[in-house]
């Protein structure tokens, strides 16, 4: 990667880094920390970069009914980077798909909330966790909607490390072939994968150009700016319906916990210290 791109990302990361969180964002993060505290484990960094994206999807974009998770005409959302599931669980609980108290049983023996999403959880469309599976499944859902003449839309959220997988690009070519205007991919571009910087482990730049060359309409957003996300998603959904689209969301891994931000060692945590709880406004262990 050349210096100009690196510098552009440094600037961009700074902008996203400085994005203040509102009370809604803090509330959902408290739910995530609560689950990690009770479950004694969890992929924290990958969940914290997703919070605003999933929240805006369920608040403003997806047509869904928490009391009727299998409503046939709903829009389908697949969290393909399944290790970010705590953000999804927090939003689903907050929306009433299941009681918030279920978060206290995260990863317990008989819990409905595991370390990766499974369809036993109300509101979860697909079991994910192994990477590179969500986009192909999403294409199947989108083609089924076309066959069954439903206007359901399909949204698939992937990680920036996940898109190293070849199956993602097999699927991208397939989505283009079928001109799947009812399919939207989202990339959580927090620029850190498990082992380190995505630019060092497996650079996928020029990322927007790659998706564009695969036939996608490409948009970008600040993944922690609720207003920008609302505007970008609305724009994406209004694009001509004969092409799949991708929204590259620039995010910060670990967003909201200063020690965790942009810190690859916070990919997964078993224990959280009191000052971390303090930072998130969860003063004491409950």
């Amino acid at each position: 990667m050349n210096d100009a791109i690196k510098s552009a990302y440094a600037t961009d990361l700074g902008r996203v880094q400085d994005q203040p969180l509102d009370e809604g964002g803090r509330h959902l993060r408290r739910l995530i920390i609560r689950a990690i505290d009770k479950g004694k484990r969890g992929h924290i960094g990958p969940a914290l970069s997703l919070v605003e994206i999933i929240r805006v999807l369920y608040d403003d974009v997806l047509r869904h009914r928490p009391a009727e998770p299998k409503w046939p005409d709903r829009d389908r959302f697949i969290l393909s980077k399944g290790h970010g599931c705590l953000a999804l669980y927090a939003v689903l609980a907050d929306k009433g798909y299941f009681p918030v108290a279920e978060l206290d049983r995260f990863c317990h023996f008989d819990s409905i909330l595991g370390g990766h999403p499974e369809v036993v959880t109300p509101g979860v469309e697909a079991c994910t966790g192994a990477l590179g599976h969500g986009l192909p499944i999403g294409i199947g859902l989108a083609l089924a909607a076309r066959i069954q003449r439903r206007d359901s839309r399909v949204v698939v959220l992937m990680g920036d490390g996940e898109i190293n997988e070849g199956s993602v690009w097999e699927a991208a070519a397939c989505a283009d072939k079928h001109r799947l205007g009812n399919l939207t991919a989202i990339i959580d571009y927090n620029k850190l994968q498990s082992a380190g910087s995505v630019f060092e482990i497996q650079n996928m730049e020029p990322l927007a150009d790659k998706w564009a060359s695969f036939g996608f309409q490409v948009l970008e957003a600040n993944g922690h700016d609720v207003t920008d996300l609302r505007r970008t998603f609305a724009h994406a959904m209004a694009l001509p319906p004969n092409q799949p689209r991708v929204i590259i969301c620039h995010t910060v891994k670990g967003k909201g916990i200063p020690a965790a931000e942009n810190n690859a060692s916070w990919h997964h945590k078993a224990e959280l210290s009191d000052d971390v709880r303090q930072a998130i406004g969860l003063a004491e262990k409950d």
Binding site: E118, V119, E125, A126, C127, G129, A130, G132, H133, L135, P136, I137, G138, I139, G140, L141, A142, L143, A144, A145, R146, I147, Q148, G166, S167, E170, A171, A173, C174, K177
Partner: protein
């Protein structure tokens, strides 16, 4: 068998609008009539098996019944994680039609020879594993497949296989078929799957001429295994010989041994005929490669004669 299988996909599609066909870069014009009649339910996709399995899973989640077809090695080995997670973990009614089970693609070498497909498919929870013996039985399997609520692996043979199945024996997924004319007082039990059943029947005829009586159990469904029928038949004989065009590791022979062990009874001697633990070292044709391992009427008859002689010692 392959032609019958694909013709049946079209027939089922005419009968039921849930049926979808997905091929992976197959022959030009394949299922052309279906493509013409139901363009929205006919998909000829690229060489991208991982994607195709995921796509089929997504369709099945919405109530469709996709029949996916490509070469057996590619639909099992290449996309094993997609089969395990997208299909089996979700327990979806997707049908995987694998061309060229066993040594069918003998001249093409080990890249195209599905010698462990039954084993790796059998190891997956929720997967149903089938290998019918001829085109007539394929029709019965395909009819039964439409409303089977789990994923199914359908192993295809070469085609033009002799018809040995009989309509009067019936067909149900998971039920072994006793192919013997007279099942009483058998000396040995032959348990076979796929076209190996044809060789087992031929062997039993030859043995009968020598006064050795064999019962032949045709196991078209390797999973769920008809353990009850196998254990019950094994109780009546001194020798069981399993026959399969498949590695001796993890296929029908292994499944039969597991069933007999799990029955917790004294079991008869068991001999397994199958492909040894190696990739093919030759080309030629399917039968020649099977002959290397004695997967033919002569080899089966020899295994029975030898096994019975040892059982008498």
């Amino acid at each position: 068998m392959r032609k019958r299988c694909l013709d049946m996909v079209y027939a089922l599609a005419q009968r039921d609008d849930r049926v979808v066909f997905i091929g992976s870069d197959l022959s030009p014009g394949l299922l052309g009539e279906m493509k013409k009649a139901y363009p929205q339910r006919y998909f000829m996709e690229g060489v991208a098996e991982a994607n195709i399995i995921g796509v089929a899973a997504g369709m099945a989640m919405e109530g469709l019944v996709p029949y996916v077809n490509t070469i057996a090695t590619f639909i099992t080995r290449r996309c094993y994680e997609q089969v395990a997670l997208d299909l089996c973990l979700h327990d979806l009614p997707v049908r995987l039609i694998g061309n060229g089970g066993g040594y069918v693609y003998a001249p093409l070498g080990p890249t195209h020879q599905a010698i462990e497909d039954l084993a790796i498919m059998r190891a997956l929870p929720n997967m149903t594993v089938t290998a019918v013996c001829d085109a007539e039985e394929m029709t019965r399997l395909m009819n039964a497949s439409l409303d089977w609520p789990h994923p199914i692996y359908i192993r295809l043979a070469k085609g033009g296989d002799p018809i040995v199945s009989r309509p009067d024996k019936g067909f149900a997924i998971g039920k072994a078929i006793d192919m013997s004319e007279d099942a009483g007082n058998a000396d040995a039990l032959l348990v076979a799957t796929g076209v190996a059943t044809t060789a087992a029947l031929e062997a039993s005829k030859r043995l009968a001429e020598d006064g050795v009586r064999c019962r032949v159990l045709h196991v078209h469904t390797v999973k769920p295994l008809d353990s009850h029928a196998i254990v019950a038949a094994a109780r009546e004989v001194r020798l069981v010989v399993t026959v399969e065009e498949h590695s001796v590791i993890g296929g029908l022979g292994s499944a039969v041994l597991e069933a007999l062990a799990d029955a917790g009874e004294a079991m008869p001697r068991v001999r397994r005929l199958g492909i040894g633990d190696e990739f093919a070292k030759h080309y030629g044709n399917q039968q020649k490669l099977m002959d290397v391992w004695g997967i033919n009427a002569q080899g089966i008859a020899g295994a029975v004669t030898d096994g019975l002689a040892r059982a008498r010692q």
